[in-house]
Structure formats: C-alpha cells, structure tokens
C-alpha cells in the first residue's frame, strides 16, 4: 500500500497543488455568491435559476469550471487530511488512511466528471 502511494506521489502532489491554488481561486468567488450572497438574499436567487445555471454549466468552459470546483478541493482536502493524520503519529496507519482518502477523492472526481457530462 505504502509502496503504491509512493509511486503515485508526484500525481497526488500535482493534484493537491492544483487544488490548493486553482481550487482556492475558484472557490472564493463561488462561495461568495452561491454559498453566501444568494442564500442571504444580497443577490436575487433568479441569477441562478435552472435556465441560467444550466446555460452557464452546459457550455464547455462552464463544465470545466464546474469540474474544477468539484475535483480540485477534493484532492487538496484528502492530501491535507492525510498529513494531519501523520502529524499526529499516524505513521503506522498511513497506508490505510492515505489510500482511503485518495480513493474518496478519486471517486468524487469520477462522479464529478459524470455529473458535468450529464448536464
């Protein structure tokens, strides 16, 4: 298990790095509008009614942005949680914890791909 993790370390780190940087950049605007401004009523909710949301998300660029918003934070999250586990003496359980977290992120990413294709 550890050996396998070691092999894919460069990919994971790339995904993590992308999550950390691009993910953060995408999330900031998203959470401001979708997570806060609309629910709090500062921006009218019809900005993202089904028509418009669908229109935005169904062109190619929209799909890519959406996929980035889904998959990138997952990798950033999984990798960070694994290192926290290590910081608290998790060396021995690292193989299991690491693979579990990365599987979760991978599953989420695949589902994300399916989701944006479905739109």
């Amino acid at each position: 298990m550890k050996q396998l993790l070691l092999k894919i370390e460069p990919i994971i780190w790339l995904l993590f790095g992308a999550g950390l940087s691009i993910g953060t950049m995408l999330l900031t605007g998203f959470v401001l509008v979708v997570g806060l401004a609309i629910p709090l009523g500062w921006v009218p909710a019809d900005a993202l009614d089904y028509e418009r949301a669908h229109a935005l998300a169904s062109n190619l660029i929209g799909r890519l942005f959406l996929l980035g918003l889904i998959a990138l934070p997952l990798w950033k999250g999984a990798h960070h949680l694994r290192s926290i586990s290590l910081d608290f003496g998790g060396e021995s359980r690292d193989g299991a914890v690491g693979s579990l977290l990365y599987l979760l992120a991978a599953a989420g990413s695949v589902a994300g791909i399916v989701a944006v294709i479905r739109i």
Binding site: L32, V33, P39, P44, L48, Y50, L66, L74, A115, V116
Partner: protein, 146 residues
C-alpha cells in the same frame, strides 16, 4: 500527540554505540502559535473535501431536472449551510493568504530556463490572478455578465 517523538525518528541506521534516551518533543508542540496555524491550515482539508462533495451534489442535481436543481439550490439557505459556507470562506481566505502570499512566491523553480523574479512580483501576480478570477466568478454567478 504529546511527549516523546516517534522513537525511531532521526536514529542512526545502524544502532548507536551507546544507549540513548528517545527523542523529545516539547510536550505541547502542537500548541505553539505557529504550529497551531499550520494545523489549522491542514484542517481546512476537511472543509475543502466537504465543499467538493457539496458542489458535486449541486452539479448532479443540475444534470437531473429543474426540480432537483431548485430543491438543492434552495436548500443552500438552510442556516447550517450558511454557517458551513462561512467557514469555507474563512478557510479559503486563510489558505489563499498562506499559499499565495507566503508560500508560492518562494517556490519559483530555479536553475531552469525561467528567470527568478523577486518574490514581491510573484506575490502580486498570483494575488492579482486570485482577485481577477474571484471577480469574474462573482460577476458571472450573480448574473451581471453573460
């Protein structure tokens, strides 16, 4: 974790010629202010992970039918979601500041074909990009453009 550090940490490959006491960590290593920030930085991992799945759920709903979308979308005004999103906002800003202001300007590849720029320039460029993308997203999502 308090007390002794990992007993094998930094021990010699071959066994030392004398008995040694196991390595010590200050018992409250994690409570030093700087370390606390670092741990919080790592802890944002959980927030990001949840955010990823939340957005996945929205996307899935959007691909299903208008009803599904509307109910998922309306669900976001639930106070629990709002609180989560507040936490997410703080996390995103915290991560952004640490990553874009402190870390990435120092990480320019060196010795390669690219010139090494002063950290301040890189910092400015990255933060500018961050602000730009954020502004773009805000405008698009709030219906101001497109």
């Amino acid at each position: 974790m308090a007390g002794a550090a990992h007993p094998e940490a930094m021990a010699p490959r071959k066994k030392g010629p004398t008995r040694t006491a196991p390595p010590m960590m200050p018992s409250s290593w994690w409570s030093a202010p700087r370390i606390r920030i670092y741990l919080l930085f790592g802890a944002t991992g959980l927030v990001y992970l949840l955010a990823g799945f939340l957005i996945l759920r929205l996307a899935w709903a959007l691909g299903s039918n208008p009803m599904a979308w509307q109910s998922a979308f309306d669900g976001l005004s639930n106070p629990l979601y709002v609180i989560f999103h507040l936490i997410l906002l703080v996390s995103v800003l915290g991560v952004g500041i640490r990553a874009f202001v402190r870390m990435m300007p120092k990480m320019q590849p060196r010795g390669g074909p690219l010139p090494v720029l002063p950290p301040a320039v890189v910092r400015g460029a990255i933060c500018g990009l961050w602000a730009g993308i954020t502004l773009f997203m805000v405008l698009v999502l709030s219906g101001a453009i497109f």
